[in-house]
């Protein structure tokens, strides 16, 4: 694996995303788990193919970004395309994105049990 971003000139990123910006991509969190619903088809953009292969098992957005060596925001745009065409589904984190809201105590208790069992 190469270090992320080494040859990511703005031009290349522009080409990858067809020049679109973050329109629908805010739907994805860094840790939204992405699952493929279809196998890649011939002629598909290579990044889309790679994502569909990787996400045969649930894979977090940030892991896709690390594996592809692309910035997170670019990966989110690629994912919005795949979501819009039904090729992937997304399992969003159940925690609130509101900064002032604290997590549910039962979630924290589950986390504690999990950590203690490590």
């Amino acid at each position: 694996m190469r270090r992320p971003g080494r040859d990511d000139t703005p031009d290349r990123l522009y080409t990858l995303t067809g020049g679109r910006s973050r329109a629908d991509s805010d739907a994805f969190d860094l840790v939204t788990l992405v699952v493929s619903e279809f196998e890649p088809t011939p002629g598909m953009q290579s990044e889309h193919t790679a994502i569909l292969r990787m996400c045969r098992r649930p894979t977090a957005v940030v892991e896709i970004a690390a594996e592809l060596g692309l910035p997170v925001s670019i990966v989110k745009i690629l994912l919005s395309d795949l979501l819009a065409t039904g090729r992937i589904t997304a399992r969003h984190p159940q925690t609130s994105r509101q900064p002032a809201r604290l997590p549910d105590p039962t979630v924290l208790e589950q986390v504690l049990v999990g950590l203690r069992n490590l």
Binding site: T9, P10, V31, L33, R56, R57, R97, P99, Q110, G114
Partner: protein
Amino acid sequence: MASATSDTTDPTGAAPATGLPGPAAAPAPAAGPPSDRTPLLSTASNALKVVVVGGFGVGKTTLVRSVSEIRPLNTEETMTQAGQHVDDNSAVLAKSATTVAFDFGRISLNEETVLYLFGAPGQERFWFLWDRLFAGTLGAVVLVDTRRLADSWYAIDRLEQHGTPFIVARNDFGGPRYTHQEIRDALDLLPHVPLVDCDARSREDGKAVLIALVRHLHRLVTGQVH
């Protein structure tokens, strides 16, 4: 592309994955390309975030590696648009791309729940991306090296302003032994904020740090903090 951080990891120098035994470590489907990735369980549905924040070289990546079931991965986020929230000093950067690098690992806690751990540099220039990256984070661990306590002041300020719950962990580099009270005073910590000691290289210590954070969060949520 402007790079706004120097906190990068050399992926080739990282230790091999210490994948947990059991279903989480099952091989990738045979049809897939060769990969050393350890996939999540197919039942994984809820991912949580914890951020480890601190100055350069304080042991963030080491801590993540100690507890993660995968070798820490490195990635980056890029801010390319003008008109986002930036401070005056970075107004010029806002017109081009600004990039911050961070690394992460993960722990599968049960069949549905996965905890992602992010190592994030504490410097000022990182913070304009905090909301984008870490909205919804459970809480933070501020990792400190007592030889360079001032490196963590800025991060603590921002976490307090932001209302993100945190604990402080002293990573023991064998420097002078300050008392907890001396460290609390130097960091101006509120009395309810836990301060713990760790060796970031130790898996048991890494676990204990995370447990201390989650217990703190639990006390906050259930109103047991005075």
